[in-house]
């Protein structure tokens, strides 16, 4: 079990980086608490795998230090870090049985027979592999192979942390949630530090207590799933999390109120005051699921024109027009609405955010 600390970590793949632009990973400070479940979430190319490889020791950072339980391991090779890694494609030996695969990391370290037997049985029970221990690994289904791969990481008692890099990519969609449940149960029982890399918001928000959102080599927000959904501190988080993402509308602040397309939107007075001095383009953000449809002519409601209604089964998604801006609204399935109509929307202040240069004004 371990606490992992990243101090001033930055990485460039070029030997002699000249400008900040050359860095795949911009300078960052992060602490992974012992026993925490973390996700690293971001689109491809955001630097998340680079960061993971720095933690595991597969990559030496250009700058900064990696500390495990206070000890500087920046120069230590992966095998000296007691970190288990699970990759996109299961790494197992096809010629061995499931038992031998699980036992392999222990045999390598000269652990005695009785203990190997006990540990393998324990891990197999946890991962529901007990009935498969005698099977040959070749020809097993992808989810079984990935569970074995995870088991190989868990079998060592001294493992400090488990790093998982998009481990569900090759798993059939209908089996994915079963494996997510297994992972979550394993974490709840073992309380081992877990770092889970993914571009999939469902996997990140489901597995992690805290999610580190990355974009363009930067950490843009670290927060609980609830914080990321309810109070995205960066427009990228608003866009990337949620399906569809947050509505972002260019706006101005005038007489202590926010104006979008000439319409007044009530918002916290302090936020409005700070917006006047903040640099960068001002945008108002609200998620499609937080917009409220209200009766015609309600005070402070915006009148919008409905341009499209999509039936998504459990709800409807309406695309509406407010002047030149487009606004997506999620409505309950029983709601009646069709293209060409007008409707009135309320922006609850609690769910309405204001951004300057992409960062939230709080």
């Amino acid at each position: 079990m371990a606490r992992i600390e990243l101090r001033g970590i930055a990485h460039a793949y070029q030997a002699a980086p000249r400008s900040e632009e050359d860095f795949a990973l911009r300078p960052l400070e992060l602490v992974w608490e012992d026993g925490g479940a973390y996700a690293l979430l971001g689109p491809s190319g955001c630097g998340k795998t680079t960061l993971l490889n720095i933690i595991s020791g597969l990559l030496q950072p250009t700058r900064g230090q990696v500390l495990i339980d206070g000890a500087d391991v920046t120069a230590a090779p992966p095998q000296a870090r007691n970190i288990a890694q699970v990759f996109q494609f299961p790494v197992i030996y096809d010629t061995m049985t499931v038992f031998e695969n699980l036992a392999f990391p222990l045999r390598n370290r000269g652990v005695d027979r009785a203990e190997i037997q006990a540990r393998v049985e324990e891990v197999a029970a946890l991962l529901e592999l007990t009935g498969d221990l005698r099977l040959r690994a070749s020809g097993l289904s992808a989810d079984l192979r990935q569970r074995i791969s995870l088991g190989r990481g868990l079998v060592r008692k001294d493992v400090a942390a488990i790093l998982l890099d998009e481990p569900l990519t090759v798993i059939d969609p209908h089996v994915k949630w079963l494996l997510r449940r297994k992972l979550k149960q394993v974490h709840e029982q073992l309380k081992v530090t877990l770092v889970y890399v993914t571009h999939d918001q469902v996997e990140a928000l489901t597995l992690a207590d805290r999610v580190v959102v990355m974009n363009g080599g930067r950490v843009v927000q670290v927060g609980t799933p609830q914080e990321l959904v309810e109070r995205p501190l960066d427009t990228f988080v608003g866009y990337f999390i949620g399906s569809p993402g947050m509505n972002l509308l260019p706006c101005i602040v005038e007489d202590g109120a926010v104006m979008v397309e000439g319409q007044r939107i009530p918002l916290d007075a302090d936020v409005c005051a700070r917006a006047r001095t903040a640099g960068g383009e001002l945008r108002l953000g609200i998620r499609p699921e937080f917009l409220r449809r209200v009766a015609e002519g309600s005070p402070q409601a915006l009148r919008v024109e409905v341009t499209q209604v999509e039936h998504l089964g459990r709800h409807k998604l309406a695309t509406t027009r407010l002047g030149e801006q487009s606004l997506k609204v999620r409505l309950p399935e029983e709601e009646r609405l069709s293209a060409g109509e007008s409707c009135w929307l309320e922006l609850p202040p609690r769910w309405t955010m204001l951004y300057a240069g992409g960062r939230a004004i709080t």
């Binding site: 949630w177 449940r181 918001q201």
Partner: protein, 373 residues
């Protein structure tokens, strides 16, 4: 194309195993058709037969009334887009898009250039025309592959899970574009997917395929709202549909789920013959709070929760029955927590023990106007 494409009792056997069994399907010209089925259902096999890449073991495929079973693929006017982005790596985006036109050799240079640029514009590829595929993002590569399929104005356009290999954000954007692109085309479009949400978003008609058999065909929303069998309900639900075995008592006044939970069979459940049934309930109709006095309270124990955006999937059990509820907001109940879920009987599908639909919640025809057929 005037009469579309027709599959008449098509079967395909591979090594003595039926991959497709007795498929009857008629697709109208200008129609958008979703082929919905899980991995291994036979979607790709069916598309390959339509494309002429494989031959059926028995049965006939007719295009515009003319049998084409066994006609070479090069002589059919078909375009196909695959899950993997297939482009020529050494050709620029422009040349990739132009390649099907150059192969057919029917267009003059001016007309060819016009067509390539028009298609590139529709797929927002204009800025990348001089690039090589390797210099593009996954989404741009798949757009290029789609442009190649669209440029030649094929009368049959087949798409095999074209978005499956993309990040979900890109998928979201491309999905919306695909619908616009294929609207108002005279071609027959067939789009294979495993995802119910994708089928709903794309609209048109949906054919549900399972284990090589065609289970149901109809306007997408009709199939969604009235799955003919329990299996169709399962394939057309994500998260999975809750399936609850109930017993309707002799007097028909009570439906019993477990020793603890029973309720009066109201609304469309009224008039069920006594006996055993299976209720199908989509996850978003199982809630944490009651919506009406008729809602049935089910005590459960939480197994795990999954969070997506501002929704949470609660996986739980009641008396050994697995239940999944899709609720608003980010929730977190610990493993083993005890909760109450509420189900509204008016939202249940009723299936016979053999899995045939006995009764479905009414849905207003206004909603089926969405289907673009």
């Amino acid at each position: 194309m005037k009469h579309g494409i027709e599959l008449d009792g098509v079967t395909r056997m591979v090594n003595g195993e039926p991959h497709l069994a007795d498929i009857h399907l008629k697709l109208e010209p200008g129609s958008f058709n979703v082929l919905l089925g899980r991995t291994g259902a036979g979607k790709t096999s069916l598309l390959r037969l339509m494309a002429g890449l494989d031959r059926p073991t028995s049965g006939a495929i007719r295009v515009d009334g003319v049998e084409v079973t066994g006609v070479d693929v090069r002589r059919r006017n078909v375009a196909m887009v695959y899950q993997q982005f297939v482009n020529y790596p050494s050709l620029t985006v422009y040349e990739n898009i132009a390649s099907p036109l150059r192969l057919s050799g029917r267009l003059g240079p001016k007309e060819l250039d016009r067509r390539v640029r028009e298609t590139a514009a529709a797929l927002r590829l204009e800025p990348f025309l001089d690039r090589l595929p390797a210099e593009l993002s996954g989404g741009q590569q798949q757009r290029t592959a789609m442009a190649r399929a669209l440029v030649k104005d094929a009368s049959l356009l087949l798409l095999d899970e074209p978005l499956a290999n993309l990040d979900y954000k890109l998928r979201e954007e491309l999905r919306a574009e695909i619908r616009q692109l294929f609207r108002d085309r005279p071609a027959v479009v067939v789009y294979a997917t495993t995802e119910p949400t994708e089928a709903l978003l794309l609209g048109g008609r949906t054919a549900v395929l399972d284990e090589g058999r065609l289970l149901q065909v109809g306007p997408t929303l009709d199939v969604y709202h009235a799955p003919a069998t329990e299996r169709v309900g399962q394939v057309f639900s994500d998260p999975q549909m809750n399936l609850l075995d109930v017993e309707v008592t002799e007097e028909g006044t009570e439906a019993r789920l477990s020793p603890e939970v029973s309720f009066p069979p109201a609304e469309h459940l009224r008039g069920l013959e006594p006996g055993r049934y299976r209720l199908g309930l989509r996850a978003h109709h199982l809630r944490l709070e009651p919506r009406s006095p008729e809602d049935v309270r089910i005590p459960v124990r939480v197994e795990v929760e999954e969070v997506s955006g501002s929704e949470t999937l609660v996986h739980a059990t009641h008396d050994g029955i697995a239940l999944t509820a899709q609720v608003e907001g980010v929730r977190s109940h610990p493993y083993g927590a005890e909760l109450e879920l509420f189900m509204s009987p008016s939202r249940c599908f009723v299936f016979s023990p053999e899995g045939r639909l006995v009764a479905a919640p009414p849905f207003t025809p206004e909603e089926s106007l969405h289907g673009q057929d």
